[in-house]
Amino acid sequence: MSLVLTEEQQMLKIAAKEFLIEKAPIAFLRKLRDTEDEMGYDPELWLEMAAMGWTSLTIPEEYGGLGFGYVGLGEVLEETGRTLTCSPLISTSLLCASAIQLGGSLGYKHQFFQELIKGIVYAFATDEQSHHDPDYVETKAEKAGSGFVLTGTKTFVLDGHVAAKYVVSAKFEERIHLFVVDADAVGIQKERIIMMDSRNSSDVSFEKTPAICMLSGAEETYHRTLDIGRIGLASEMLGATLEAFQRTVAYLKERRQFGVSIGSFQALQHRASKMFCEIEMVKSIVLKALQMIDREDENLAIWASMAKVKAGEVIKLVTNEAIQIYGGIGMTDDEEIGFFIKRARAAQVTLGDYNFHLDRYAKLHGY
């Protein structure tokens, strides 16, 4: 498999870019934030995204999806990173659809995929503390009749307050499984918390809440879903990095001091050149990791950690440098560059930051 996009993937990416620049530029995020929108995303825009086929990309054709693959979804996510578009694409299509694909029974796949394709929002609930630790799951599942009930508290649940269903990690007989839960089932309490990036997060607690079903595959399904999520996030982070860098380079040319553009100063040129090199590295690992999802590679954990480390380190570098190079204007809320550092930090923490993943990479290699 060549490490370049196919023509079809390239076309999808261009269509996504054009759509997002027109419909959901950063001004759109600013408006959602400033109007204190209760949903925290625009349902109409989300339906249009579904109509573009973005919610169907990874869903197999036999369930009415496009079977286009994760490289496709990754390219769309990259473009949403450029425009910082907030939508349920990560919670619903990247995380929950993947979990159901990996662990859903035939009957449930038909039912859930139909909803997912239409754009019904599903949220993925796993973290229980401030640091991502996939092995730390205290939420428990107990047998109740022919099914299960869940009890526990989840945090940092993306789109948790607007979801119709949750995919929840819980322990049953010492093993971690994923369960699908109706959001209006009994015993659920949710509290929306708006985060630094103006996106939706929630604390969600379950008290003997009945599950619709348990997904098969236990930890295997659980960890693979997380790895797919990490790679998709890395793709979004790459998009945000590219955009922040492009804007910063443009600013270097535009901003004049001492009678010349500040981009003529070698101290700044060298920093820009180093960022360029680092971004090229991110492009390589993100595309490789996306291809490895589609290939069903058995070492996905390593690819995912590599992608999340590199994308995380580089988006931090680039957004920090962006603010410094923009100078005072970069500190103002009027200038859009500040939105990038906010999303960078939130995406970094989601599903493990680079500290977590570098440690994991070393462990996976036996040191």
Partner: protein, 389 residues
């Protein structure tokens, strides 16, 4: 296409497994284990000779060069597959050669047909070892300021001047050199590209001893050297273009020299204690992991650049990125290697250390960010040519 390539990969891998001698699949511990070819060379071992001859017969010394010039006529993509498989199986390069990595590409692009036939075939067969005459005592980062002059005189050029930092100048047979043929014009427009046999009267070299205690470079002196006119490559005064083209290849080569090395984490596991499967020093562990990961990602980026070039996207300045990033990774790796080995790594003259292989390699790596255009020059090129700053 991908399928054909996979088949090719399987065949290449099977052939290498079968024909690469075992001793040619262990990491290099001594410079003399590299075979460079040339008039003055001998093989270090029987296996080294067998390996070179088998690869020569297979036409895999320069797999992607046209057959009439001694190559294998394969595509860039197939060439990369062979490189990847050799790396994966730990096969040593059968022939290290500036003729292949630097001069060859420039000749393919700029030389006349008779020049290509003669010089490229000699390179592949390992008959002639080449060195590069670029830098001068007063022309380092400002390479175009070079002063070695070549004056037309009947059917030859008369060359006078001094080159410095000639890699293996004392071991090479021929030198490709930049010379000034016009002092009246803008400095870049008065440079020509000459091929010079170092056996010509008036050529002499003097080794430069480095901080590593080794002398891989020489000063090279030209004292009334007569060079036949048919050894000019390209047009008179058009050498700067060739020089830059060649430099992009040199940079790519220096950047991707990380061939056939042990994994840093394997060295770490051997040198430091593990507790519950985790290296005891958490700071070093992090740095090892980061270097190993970045190296893996760098290699992916090399692959991606090849794939993109095949798909028709190519940027010359990318070689500056590879040079800067690849050498930086190697420099960090050498620092870590020293940290992992502690006092053992300092051994300079001992049997156990192969006469200070690690320490000398560490010191040598300090030159990586200077030679072939310093880090700072590479970053300038990226800023100007790619970012248009």
């Amino acid at each position: 296409m991908d399928q054909d390539l996979n088949l090719f990969r399987e065949e290449a891998s099977a052939w290498l497994e079968k024909y690469c001698p075992k001793s040619m699949r262990v990491p290099i511990l001594d410079q003399k284990e590299f075979y460079w070819g040339g008039r003055k060379s001998t093989f270090d071992s029987k296996d080294q000779q067998i390996w070179f001859e088998r690869m020569l017969e297979k036409r895999w010394i320069a797999p992607h060069w046209p057959v009439k010039y001694g190559g294998g006529g394969l595509s860039l993509k197939e060439n990369r597959v062979i490189e990847e498989e050799m790396e994966r199986l730990g096969c040593r390069k059968p022939l290290l050669s500036f003729g292949i990595t630097m001069l060859g590409p420039a000749l393919l692009e700029f030389a006349t047909e008779p020049q290509r036939i003669k010089y490229l075939n000699e390179i592949v067969a390992g008959k002639i070892r080449w060195c590069q005459g670029y830098s001068e005592p007063n022309a380092g980062s400002d390479l175009a300021g070079l002063q070695t002059k070549a004056e037309e005189n009947g059917d030859y050029y008369l060359v006078n001047g001094t080159k410095v930092w000639t890699s293996y100048g004392d071991k090479a047979d021929w030198i490709f050199a930049l010379v000034r043929t016009n002092f009246e014009v803008k400095k870049q427009e008065g440079i020509s590209f000459l091929l010079i046999d170092m056996n010509t009267p008036g050529v002499s070299t003097r080794p430069i001893k480095l901080i590593s205690g080794i002398s891989p470079f020489t000063e090279t002196f030209f004292d009334n050297v007569q060079v036949p006119k048919d050894q000019l490559v390209g047009d008179l005064n058009a050498g700067w273009t060739i020089a830059k083209y060649l430099l992009t290849h040199e940079r790519q080569m220096i950047g991707s020299m990380a061939n056939n090395r042990r994994k840093l984490s394997d060295i770490a596991k051997e040198q430091l204690c593990l507790k519950n499967g985790i290296l005891m020093n958490p700071i070093l562990r992090t740095e090892v992991a980061r270097n190993e990961m970045d190296t893996e990602i760098f290699n992916l980026t090399v692959t991606r650049a090849v794939d993109e070039a095949r798909a028709g996207h190519h940027s010359g300045a990318v070689s500056s990125m590879f040079k800067y990033y690849g050498t930086e990774l190697n420099i960090q790796r050498q620092e870590l290697n020293m940290a992992l080995r502690g006092s053992r790594g300092l051994e300079w003259e001992s049997e156990a250390s192969s006469q200070g292989f690690e320490a000398r390699t560490f010191l040598r790596s300090k030159g990586n960010s200077i030679e072939g255009g310093t880090h700072e020059i590479q970053l300038n090129i990226i800023a100007k040519q790619i970012l248009k700053l």
